[in-house]
């Protein structure tokens, strides 16, 4: 039976009142399996950070529920139990100030049962984090590294990273991704990271959730998603215009291009049975899947408006 590190059910979060009300998260249902590397993807203002803030007990859901290891993070003392098991890198990368060394020392004391000095030293070395530079003099990249070092070295059951690559150079980014895969998941820990940098997520994530305008558009294991999505270029007459398998249709001069979101083999067989010719069949990259989903959702919303 799959156990979940993080789960949300019909989660809603609104800000503001009356006409100015913003629905940051709109009926979100997420399932983050324990031991997975889960990438939450979405455009700006998709609701990723708001979801994470609710998971970290920083914001209260307007309705619906959110659970971290089956506990409610919005309520003390359950919140404290949640926070003992979660490492967090916030979007703003704001910390307690001082030098990275002081920050590590401070954070170490909060997690005496799980903290590893060896892992802290390893992260510092790999990320080339300057330990004794005051926080106000640190670049954004080095601030990110300091917070990452704290979160990784505390060896929590769940690591929540909100845009963890902000300001990191390619070398540091590579080192970070290696650290996450080698040291975090090897011990069965769960990593939940949000980003709109698809390439880096694709490198390490095994589960994906794609959000747009507060809603989840797609969720599941990355391999299954890749297997389900396919671009078909088809010629023939009486081609279908709608089907649960079709995500989008693009009619060109001599052919029709389908983006299929589920069961591409069955859909292809149906097309061939109906006399269509498959000119091309190619898998979609995560980036293409993301773009197709976002565009389709946007055009659907425009039709509704």
């Amino acid at each position: 039976m799959t156990t979940f590190a993080l789960q949300t059910h019909s989660l809603v979060k609104t800000y503001g009142l009356g006409r100015k009300q913003i629905r940051a998260v709109d009926g979100l249902s997420l399932n983050v399996p324990e031991g997975s590397i889960y990438g939450l993807l979405g455009r700006n203002s998709a609701g990723k950070t708001t979801t994470i803030r609710m998971a970290m007990g920083l914001a209260r859901p307007t309705s619906g529920s959110i659970e971290v290891f089956g506990l409610n993070p919005a309520k003390d003392p359950e919140r404290v139990t949640v926070l003992q098991q979660v490492g967090y890198v916030p979007e703003g990368k704001a910390s307690a100030g001082g030098t990275a060394r002081k920050l590590l020392e401070l954070n170490r004391s909060f997690y005496p049962d799980t903290w590893s000095d060896d892992l802290a030293r390893k992260v510092v070395r790999r990320l080339e984090l300057p330990l004794d530079t005051p926080s106000i003099k640190l670049s954004l990249g080095n601030k990110t590294k300091a917070i990452l070092a704290c979160a990784i070295a505390q060896r929590s059951r769940l690591l929540i990273l909100d845009e963890p690559t902000t300001g990191l150079d390619p070398v540091a980014l590579d080192a970070l991704l290696r650290l996450l895969v080698e040291d975090c998941t090897a011990e069965g820990r769960t990593i939940f990271l949000s980003s709109h940098q698809l390439a880096e997520i694709e490198q390490i994530a095994d589960h994906i959730g794609i959000m747009d305008r507060g809603k989840i558009l797609l969720e599941g294991p990355l391999d299954d998603i890749r297997a389900n999505f396919r671009r078909l270029t088809v010629t023939g007459s009486a081609l279908p215009t709608s089907s649960p398998s079709i995500l989008s249709t693009k009619r060109e001069t001599h052919a029709t291009q389908y983006v299929i979101q589920r069961d591409p083999e069955a859909f292809t067989e149906d097309l061939i049975r109906n006399g269509a010719t498959i000119v091309d069949s190619s898998p979609l990259s995560l980036n293409e899947i993301f773009l197709e989903l976002c565009r389709t959702a946007e055009s659907r919303d425009e039709v509704l408006v």
Partner: protein, 363 residues
């Protein structure tokens, strides 16, 4: 206060900041020079020291709480020391010769010193308000700001603990600063002038009541006004003749005799608590009230400044309001002790409200 006294006052208040900046700069320069001499030495690896054994007070908390409390205590100690210095300077500047003679009236030295000391003690109430405002702002703004609070609010500590662990040391350091400054200034008064409050009748035209002229005679004479008072060192009631132009002298002497230093001190504490707690409520405003937060804080700031100005000018605050809130801002008749409970209870209520707001999540 004379111009030279004001200059000394301003210089003395800001001197620790200048010294701190100069010393820090020197340290940085020395460190840089040392690094230049040594060349590129790699920084020492991350080798954290183990936690020192907790004292009696910290023993009851878990390690995470102890660490947080230690950090707060260190900050509070630093702030408290500076606040104590400011209070001490303000309380002691009344002992400067220029301040003692600032009214230019013909009184004995003990009378002038004691009145000057009490006057400055009273004005410190307003300063307490300003320092309480700043302290409350510093203590709580990092706990409720969405961006900067996300680190500490996601550590395994209850929100209630986070709030009181910030409020407690800040408030304690502020009150300790006031107590230390009051004690030190009083010791300075004793060292410089001795127990002046015991010598308020010396060198004044006082005679035992039995030897005093009849009241009708006094009323038509040039010796006005007349004070009846009980002197501690001279048994029995005495009559004090202040001279023909002595109404200011009389006011000062009456004020000196009526003023209760203990209640002045208590008023400083209640004012500090009240302003601190009001600002705490304003800073922790969340959600829809957040927009008006800055405006209201500015408003309270103006109120405190107005109060300060009214203390200096005198008579601007409503006597009833001052009495009700135990604001004892000038030497003279003290408010009854019972009224101190009003600001005290209000402060507790405001702090509870601030805690309720600070422990709420983003809505």
């Amino acid at each position: 206060m004379s111009f030279s006294s004001q200059l000394i006052l301003v210089f003395a208040i800001f001197a620790p900041i200048f010294i701190f900046i100069i010393v820090s700069n020197l340290k940085v320069r020395r460190k840089n020079r040392q690094q230049e001499l040594e060349g590129d030495v790699p920084p020492p690896p991350f080798e954290p020291a183990s936690e020192p054994p907790p004292g009696i007070f910290l023993r009851r908390f878990n390690q995470a709480q102890r660490v947080y409390l230690r950090a707060q205590r260190a900050t509070a100690r630093f702030g408290g020391l500076y606040a104590a210095w400011i209070f001490f300077v303000l309380l002691s500047c009344g002992l400067l010769p220029q301040s003692v003679d600032r009214y230019g009236i013909d009184q004995s030295l003990p009378q002038r010193v004691w009145f000057s000391y009490l006057s400055d003690f009273a004005t410190v109430g307003g300063v307490c308000g300003i320092i309480a405002l700043v302290t409350s702002f510093i203590a709580l703004s990092n706990l409720v700001s969405i961006s900067s609070a996300s680190f500490i609010r996601t550590r395994p500590l209850t929100l209630r603990f986070l709030f009181w662990a910030r409020i407690g040391p800040a408030l304690a350091s502020l009150l300790a600063a006031l107590i230390i400054a009051a004690a030190c200034s009083f010791l300075l008064l004793l060292a410089l002038y001795g127990p002046v409050w015991k010598h308020l009748f010396e060198n004044s035209n006082s005679v035992p009541v039995a030897l005093a002229p009849p009241v009708q005679h006094i009323a038509h004479s040039n010796f006005a006004p007349v004070i009846l008072s009980t002197s501690v060192q001279h048994a029995g009631t005495k009559m004090v003749f202040l001279g023909s132009h002595g109404h200011i002298q009389a006011m000062h002497l009456v004020a000196s005799l009526q003023t209760s230093p203990l209640r002045l001190f208590l008023s400083g504490i209640t004012t500090t608590l009240l302003i601190f707690s009001i600002v705490a409520v304003l800073i922790t405003l969340r959600g829809h009230f957040q927009r008006i937060k800055l405006i209201t804080i500015m408003f309270v700031w103006c109120l405190v400044l107005f109060f300060e100005a009214s203390v200096m000018i005198g008579g601007l605050t409503s006597p009833r309001l001052a009495r009700t809130l135990f604001l004892y801002a000038s030497p003279g008749s003290p408010p009854p002790y019972a009224f101190a409970l009003i600001p005290l209870l209000l402060s507790i209520a405001f702090l509870c409200l601030a805690q309720f707001q600070a422990t709420r999540l983003e809505t």
